[in-house]
Subunit: 157 residues, 2 copies
DNA sequence: ATTTTGGTTCTGTAAATTATGAACTAACGA
DNA sequence: TCGTTAGTTCATAATTTACAGAACCAAAAT
């Protein structure tokens, strides 16, 4: 399998992005190739050879992504190979993870306010505002999603 | 300076959180101690000794945080020490960074759609939805912030 | 039953990260 | 101006990460 320069570039860019999200380089590249390749499903061999990563690294990456629910595979009759593809639900999960992450930060910050004893309330004020904003955002998010779905429906009607 | 068990625990937890955001362990702990300590301003020595990290690590961490605008310091007359505190603007920046990060993802995904040539449009559909959602979110965010500020004002009136 | 092949596992290691400690510097106070 | 000390820099040590290569395994094809 061959990829265009633009595809290779995008794999790299997406790879770096996912590295910043805590994925190993090779794992991030595997996600990348499944995302940008013309064929939506690729075999172990195609991934390993096209990305130029060893069989062991490929095996580890694919199993890791399978275990974390980022990819899945199908098999075809009379063919021992597995055909891997990224799960499409994956995108909403990515977004949810970011939001949960902010929720975790918010929980920590709330406990900070409980634990530290500062004389000057000015130091608490900014923090309180931020906490309140995160709470507000969290509360409004379902609304927002609903609104978007409604609008999206109208567009496609 | 001494910290309560709860404070130490929070420093650790906040530290891990910030490590996941790409900060070095020691840097993350320094941010943590400035966040949870009873005194809002701490000296080099207090930070180094309380966190039990070497002077060099402390120096690197503080300078890194100064350069990236996460902390600042003041000096007092007749005292050679600097007194470090976290910048309060820091919180909004944290949030903005998360949103910009989603924007970057969105840009990559848009280019993915341009570059890959898939026969079956079903594979594009989910991706298109997600892109459209991120665009919608980005557009609505200013609104949301405005609404929150309005509500917040009423609360404090 | 044997071979082929799709994939796994184990071991070694290169490279990057992160911190330490000691030597050093510079500025301030006395 | 001299000593003290707050802070920096540098070499290096300790870990961790991430991958390759080879040996290995199991199921399917022949």
């Amino acid at each position: 399998m061959t990829l265009s320069d633009k595809q290779l570039e995008l794999i790299e860019e997406f790879g770096v992005y996912q590295e910043n999200n805590g994925f190993q380089p090779a794992v991030a590249r595997v996600m990348g190739i499944l995302l940008v390749s013309d064929k939506p499903e690729l075999t172990f061999e195609e991934i390993s050879e096209t990305l130029n990563i060893s069989k062991s690294a490929t095996s580890n990456a694919l199993n890791m992504l399978l275990n974390t629910g980022h990819i899945e595979y199908t098999k075809f009759h009379g063919d021992r190979k597995r055909y891997f593809r990224i799960k499409s639900s994956n995108w909403r999960d990515t977004f949810n993870k970011k939001m949960e992450d902010l929720g975790e930060l918010n929980n920590i910050l709330k406990r900070v306010l409980e634990v530290r004893k500062r004389d000057n309330p000015v130091y608490d004020e900014k923090l309180l505002y931020f906490i309140s904003f995160l709470d507000y955002l969290k509360g409004q998010l379902p609304n927002l999603i609903e609104q978007w779905e409604k609008q999206n429906l109208n567009q496609n009607a």
